[in-house]
């Protein structure tokens, strides 16, 4: 039972760490890094779901009867793309924030906003 789920627990650990970075850190870029880790952990979860013991990659070939589940793979392909798109856009906003505030630290930005 416990061993049967160890994979998921690694996922949860990664997810928690990523989530922690997002919330606890004030550096905008680091937040995005945390977000990436967070999302990636979800990807790992999906792929883990897809794994079948003794199965092989889902590319049809003679002599193989057991394949891994292709559906989560497809979903995660899409999700990875979505993730990178989000990161890219986030970075673009950070670059603009840096130009406008000359800082990429949450604290300083909020200070400046409170002043104005």
């Amino acid at each position: 039972m416990l061993i049967g789920h160890y994979n998921y627990w690694v996922v949860v650990a990664l997810m928690m760490l990523g989530f922690y970075i997002i919330i606890a850190h004030g550096n905008l870029i680091k937040k995005l890094v945390g977000l990436t880790i967070f999302q990636t952990s979800v990807f790992i979860f999906y792929i883990s779901v897809a794994k079948v013991d003794g199965g092989s990659a889902p590319i049809l070939a003679d002599g193989i009867t057991q394949y891994s589940n292709p559906l989560p793979h497809v979903l995660i392909l899409t999700a990875i793309v979505v993730g990178i798109a989000t990161t890219a856009l986030g970075l673009a906003i950070i670059v603009r924030i840096n130009e406008a505030y000359d800082s990429i630290e949450e604290e300083f930005i909020q200070q400046q906003d409170n002043l104005s």
Binding site: L35, Q39, V42, L71, A79, T86, L89, I93, I97, Y101
Partner: protein
């Protein structure tokens, strides 16, 4: 006719890249207006089709569900699709004039393209019958919304947009986790199929957790109290048109998702009997109403006032859902429609103020009642509707909401809802008092009425507020039909 479900999504979708070929902002705007108008027409046809023939299922790629992706239109989403596409079309009309002062012309083409994409994303979420497809289109609408918000003139727009991006992505990822867990337990992604297969495993902890994640994720997008922190600034500093569009549509889509997941996918008995969701929603909804309304009273920026008011209005919708009866749900659905109309009108009117004054600080409103009579009148009518004064749409939904509460024996809640309206009076009154009962200050003595380009769309919505407050056939009947369908009562 058979292709209507997909057409309404791909029409704005394909129009977005075409915008880049047109280049000239004015041309792009015209094109986008035509496209949104067509989309709206399609949505009206869809509503007609659904009300006359029942649920429409459309198999994308020719693969039958659950193997392929299915578009599934019933009264519920046809109704919301109509609201979203209609409001987007009207708001877009005002875009050209409003952007003149708020966005440099070389960015306007991208603005319109992103606007269309945002619409696409929302319509995609609404139409689809596939859980993962929801996620994909959610990201389309969110990414375009982040970019649109960041285009605001004020540098705080960037910061607001970033915060929204972080919160929104967390929300989307939560939804993704939830969908993953569901898939793990059932092996399917199709909502209809999920609804059939979930009860078998409903008692497992995994399903419980997946439900929790989906709900929290959606509530983040929904700005349900206490997950609303991203919203006020995003609304306040985005370009006025974007604010109007987001306020009128995007929270509605999130509400729809919540209804879809709780009622269709997980099912009524799971959502409301296995879990204490009704109590949770009720408490959070009411808290949202009161905390947000009270915050609204203390704001100095009028966009902030209405942004907080939006959070409060979301609270009402959640309260309606929490009752767990067809009457409550239909009241919430009506409020989706009505709130879209009133917030659309209010924020468009603010766009007009923004155009003339360059800001929407409350103190700048001095004497505007005389300087910009039509714009201010629009705010007054929109505000009356927000309060829930009879003969406006706001009254209809409040009425049904209170009736639903009383039917269920929740008298105190009914009183609290009415009390919430009082708070709305207070924050609106502050605006009215400054605009009408103070003399104009030096800066805005020469301010003129908002340009027609903004005024006409604003008044279209204002009149709609009044019209649908009097002729309630459309909004009430469809909402009731949709709610009854979800509860399995024959329409």
């Amino acid at each position: 006719m058979a292709h209507l479900p997909i057409l309404q999504v791909i029409l704005p979708l394909l129009a977005a890249p075409l915008c880049l070929f047109l280049k000239r902002p004015k041309l792009v705007w015209l094109f986008a207006c035509v496209v949104t108008a067509l989309t709206f027409t399609i949505s009206v046809l869809l509503v007609q089709q659904v009300t006359s023939t029942g649920v429409i299922s459309y198999e994308l790629g020719g693969w039958a569900p659950p193997w392929g992706i299915e578009y599934r239109i019933d009264a519920l989403n046809a109704f919301v699709i109509m609201v979203v596409s209609g409001l987007s079309a009207v708001v877009l009309l005002a875009a050209r004039t409003s952007l003149e002062n708020e966005l440099s012309s070389n960015r306007q083409t991208y603005f319109y393209a992103l606007y269309l994409l945002s619409l696409t994303g929302m319509l995609g979420i609404l139409a689809t019958g596939d859980a993962f497809n929801v996620f994909v289109f959610l990201e389309i609408s969110s990414l375009s919304a982040y970019a649109l918000i960041a285009m605001g003139k004020d540098r705080r727009a960037l910061w607001a947009s970033y915060q929204y991006l972080i919160m929104g992505t967390i929300g989307a990822t939560f939804i993704l986790i939830g969908i993953g867990l569901m898939y793990q337990m059932t092996g399917t992604l199709n909502m209809q199929d999920l609804a059939e297969r979930l009860p078998e495993v409903a008692q497992t902890r995994t399903v419980f957790v997946s439900f929790a994640f989906v709900v929290v994720g959606v509530c983040l997008k929904l700005a349900l109290f206490p997950l609303h922190l991203w919203l006020p600034n995003a609304y306040a500093y985005a370009p006025s048109i974007v604010t109007a569009m987001l306020a009128a549509t995007s929270t509605k889509v999130a509400i729809y998702l919540l209804i879809r997941f709780t009622f269709t996918v997980f099912g009524l008995s799971f959502s409301f009997t296995t879990l204490p969701l009704n109590i949770l929603f009720l408490v959070l909804g009411l808290l949202g109403v009161f905390v947000a309304s009270t915050s609204a009273i203390y704001q100095q920026n009028v966009k902030h006032i209405f942004a907080y008011s939006s959070i409060a209005q979301v609270g009402y919708m959640i309260v309606g859902i929490s009752v767990g009866t067809a009457a409550g749900l239909s009241a919430s659905l009506m409020h989706i429609f009505n709130h879209a109309l009133m917030k659309g009108a209010l924020f468009l009117a603010l766009a007009g103020v923004m155009y003339r004054l360059g800001n929407v600080q409350l103190k700048s409103f001095q004497g505007l009642g005389r300087q910009m009579p039509l714009t201010m009148a629009a705010i007054v009518v929109g505000g009356l509707s927000l309060i829930g004064v009879p003969l406006t749409v706001g009254f209809i939904s409040k009425w049904y909401l209170v009736v639903a509460m009383i039917e269920n024996g929740w008298w105190p809640v009914a009183i609290l809802i009415l009390f919430g309206s009082l708070l709305a009076i207070i924050y609106l009154w502050r605006v009215v008092e400054v605009a009408y009962f103070r003399a104009p200050n030096k800066d805005n003595e020469s301010v003129k009425e908002a340009p027609l380009g903004i005024l006409i769309p604003t008044w279209i919505l204002v009149l709609a507020n009044v019209y649908f407050g009097v002729d309630t056939r459309i909004n009430v009947q469809i909402a009731q039909m949709a709610a009854e369908n979800l509860f399995g009562v024959a329409p």
